[in-house]
């Protein structure tokens, strides 16, 4: 007991010594730490406080009572949960089969194409797919009309079908990336050993593959779940007025200015994040199963038996068709007068000054935010890993937590926290950039941390050994070596900033809007073709930037790192 105390004291003393020795670094990390708390933790605390009525100087559960008293609100909760559970189950199942096919096909053209297809939804704001679903299955959609004319069936995609389908497409890349990664890193010898000892392929899948990639499956499920529950735009466009937490929180703020009830809904939105964050970091953290020892004789391809091949191929083909179709329809509706009715080519839908201005603003904001995230990520990673600054683990957790909190909650939190002195930021570009930065900093940080672990310290030691100071070493050795993680942080943040909508929609102000926000507003007003046209512009910008950036990365020395 005494010893432990002594040890803690010593540790404390060491970090105090460290502060004394490196005042600059500690100052820098203090600034980062304070910003993290200010822009990630404080807004959420404001939301929680508001839901308890703290703004009026009292603490009350009145608003929660109201929430449960009105069936409309608690149906929003149950709908959101039901939606998130079903979408998660479907996406994870489809993505598993898709990723299994791709990962077990080895190298070649077909798996590359399939991978690209699975990833393209990343280029667009997730609610975009509602637009193509409406074009196809809306009241006067192509498929609906056909069904009516041929069979007299009245079909409408609005409501549950539309929301679920749109979310499946939008969240597909997330599940796919996670699952392909774990399936690819799995030792194929294990599957071979299982079949060698007489197990059929379905049995091998059940007894060996799935248990081994279970941590990956769970992680994918948690991510998809959070994203689904936080998505407010899809139900808004295609939900036919069904109540959902995120959508109604937004409508309460914008339509009725009922901040208290919005805060209550936001609290229910943020709870799953907190629970899932806990599960990920404490329950799943030690569960990662590593394969042991030896090199495996790699065989890139694996045989599939006919029944398994049939089921997997069918599911993969359907998923791919769904995604490609959703994209194709957006492009098609952008370039014709009225899809299916008047298929004459036109560029009319593109002539909107507000839309183009919004795109330009988006581009600027995304570029600035991405640059800040990339730099901050590298610096914070260095401080965390190499300098072992005070509270570094805590800062990492806060940054990661910031990524998980639903954008709607952050948006409401920002409005509550920064619309009055001491920090009055609402109505400025700054707050939009800040929100983008702190929502994505975790990615830059994680990329930097894993890169630093991978590089190892010996190169820096060599630099010190030859007489370079720590600062010189950072700029001359560390920064160049971390080029790839810098680029990763930049590209990721850029893409998300271009396509994300849930936080930004609370922070845009009259006269300034963002590309994705504009598309949502237009779509909501029923101008589907205009929304599709602007979506095409947005997708093209993101695709071109992405292509250029990855090209630069692979053509320069960064590719070799």
């Amino acid at each position: 007991m005494f010893k432990a105390g002594e040890l803690a004291l010593k540790k404390h003393k060491n970090s105090l010594l460290n502060i004394a020795r490196n005042p600059m670094q500690q100052l820098l990390s203090l600034v980062i730490g304070v910003s993290l708390v200010l822009f990630i933790v404080i807004p959420i605390i404001y939301v929680l406080a508001r839901s308890l009525g703290v703004a009026e100087g009292i603490i009350t559960l009145e608003y929660y009572q109201n929430f449960f008293a009105r069936s409309y609100y608690y149906r929003a909760l149950s709908n959101s949960l039901l939606l998130a559970f079903s979408v998660t189950a479907i996406v994870v199942t489809l993505c598993f089969m898709y990723a299994y096919m791709v990962a077990r096909m080895g190298k070649g053209l077909l798996p590359s194409i399939l991978r690209a297809i699975a990833m393209i939804p990343l280029l667009a704001p997730p609610f975009i797919f509602s637009i193509s679903l409406i074009t196809l299955g809306g009241r006067r959609g192509l498929i609906s009309m056909q069904l009516y004319e041929l069979f007299g069936i009245e079909f409408s995609i609005y409501g549950w079908t539309g929301v679920i389908l749109a979310q499946i497409i939008g969240l597909f890349p997330l599940g796919f990336m996670m699952l392909e990664n774990v399936l690819r890193s799995m030792d194929l010898n294990l599957e071979e050993a299982s079949s060698d000892m007489g197990a059929g392929q379905w049995r091998t899948l059940r007894a060996v593959t799935i248990p081994l990639v279970m941590p990956g499956i769970l992680k994918a499920a948690l991510l998809v779940f959070i994203k689904s529950i936080a998505d407010f735009a899809t139900p808004m466009v295609i939900g036919a007025g069904l109540p959902f937490l995120a959508t109604d929180a937004y409508l309460l703020v914008v339509g009725q200015h009922n901040m208290e009830m919005a805060a209550v809904l936001a609290t229910f939105l943020v709870l799953p994040t907190i629970i899932i964050f806990f599960i990920q970091n404490y329950v799943l953290a030690d569960k990662t199963r590593t394969t042991i020892s030896g090199q495996s004789s790699v065989s890139s391809q694996i045989r599939m038996n006919p029944s398994m091949k049939g089921v997997f191929t069918l599911s993969t083909t359907l998923s791919a068709i769904l995604i490609v179709m959703a994209f194709a329809v957006i492009f098609w509706s952008a370039f014709v007068v009225i899809p299916g009715v008047n298929n004459t080519f036109t560029l009319d839908h593109f002539s909107t000054r507000t839309g183009w201005n919004a795109m330009t603003t988006s581009l600027q904001i995304a570029a600035v935010s991405a640059l800040v995230v990339a730099f901050l990520g590298v610096i914070q990673a260095y401080l965390n890993v190499r300098m072992k600054v005070y509270g570094s683990k805590m800062m990492e957790y806060i940054a990661l937590f910031g990524m998980g909190v639903p954008g709607t909650v952050v948006g409401i939190g920002y409005i509550l926290s920064f619309n009055q002195p001491p920090i009055h930021l609402t109505g400025t570009m700054t707050i939009i950039i800040i929100s983008m930065v702190f929502r994505h900093l975790g990615v830059g940080l994680e990329a930097g941390i894993s890169k630093l672990h991978q590089i190892g310290i010996s190169m820096e030691e060599a630099s010190w050994d030859m007489g370079a100071s720590k600062i010189t070493t950072f700029f001359r050795v560390v920064l160049p070596l971390m080029g790839s993680s810098f680029m990763y942080g930049f590209i990721y943040t850029f893409m998300c900033a271009m396509t994300s909508i849930s936080t930004a929609i609370f922070l845009v102000f009259p006269g300034t809007t963002l590309g994705a926000v504009y598309i949502l507003q237009v779509a909501e007003q029923g101008a589907i073709a205009r929304a599709a046209a602007m979506a095409v512009v947005l997708i093209s910008i993101v695709a071109v930037c992405l292509f250029t950036l990855t090209r630069i990365t692979s053509k320069t020395h960064l590719a070799r790192l």
Binding site: D187, A193, D196, M197, G200, T290, I292, G294, S297
Partner: protein
Amino acid sequence: MAEEPILQVKDVVKTFGPVTALSGVSIDVYRGEIVCFLGPSGCGKTTLLRVIGGFYQQDRGDVYLDGKLINGVPPEKRDTVMFFQNYALFPHMNVYENVTYGLKVRKENKNSMKEKARSILSMIQLDGMEDRFPNQLSGGQQQRVALARALILNPKLLLLDEPLSNLDANLRAYMRDEIIKIREKLNLTIIFVTHDQDEAISIADKIAVMREGDIEQIGHPVNIYRYPASVYVADFIGRANFLDATVHSVSADNMLELKTPVGEIKINPPQNNFKPGEQAKAVIRPENIKVILDKSESDINILEAEVLKSTYLGAIVNYRVQIGEETMSVELRNPTEKELLSAGDKLYLKIPENIHLIKEEASEEAALKQAR
């Protein structure tokens, strides 16, 4: 042998895109044999093993197991079990579950499963470890679990992929003895793949030396070592000096007189069917050359040489020597103080009479292959 081979591979071809991994391999393996596929990386040995195990489907050719054609039969339906180089133990199952996995798949009843597991685990001295997980075992224990998992199925053919390559020297020796013991106990037929000639020579009944997708020579380790069929084999198994030789004359007692760049030598090779005028390569193992310090003996095949480089290895000393235009390696066991020479020293070498000759066609063909 009148007995039917348990495994017959006939003209098997396997390509991966533009790369030909197997170019028409044939081999027979008999019950109870330990056969080794030996060769450098890329020679196709692992591919052949995986074709036999059913993991790869050959493009052409047939594979028979116990008289039955098994082309296209998937691994789970083949009576062969593979021991993977990285063991491929299921990390989410404990030792007992790993070992009994194959029996469970075969729906064996619980009691006999337990009984079999107990006997196999005690045979490889892993009793009491049933509840451990693979990551709680040492490398050697993991390997034994993998072996138990394969043996418990009593396969017709046990396939071992580089079984000793991940082990340190002590464990290697132990495992080698273990494999030989198991074969005796269970009368298993074993095929294993290695690039390590010592491993092959010490375990195998038959070695198949592979090269560029085909078997270059197959035979008992002693024969492969003493009578290599080509320069490639001679060079891969042990080390050898090669001398270009022309058969000058054949005497009545079958002594050959050879003309070589280092002068005339007389030999009586064990496989002797040479005629005067034939071209051949003489294979002279460094350890077969006798080192003589003073040329007192008036003997045949004595060559004068000069030490270029001396490498002292304790029990052995290695000399790189110059004889006329040629250089050779000479190996001396337990050198005495006097026999420790340094660069520039003169010495005499006695070439033994029983050295092996490779006919020139064989070596020419080999050279051609190498050029390709």
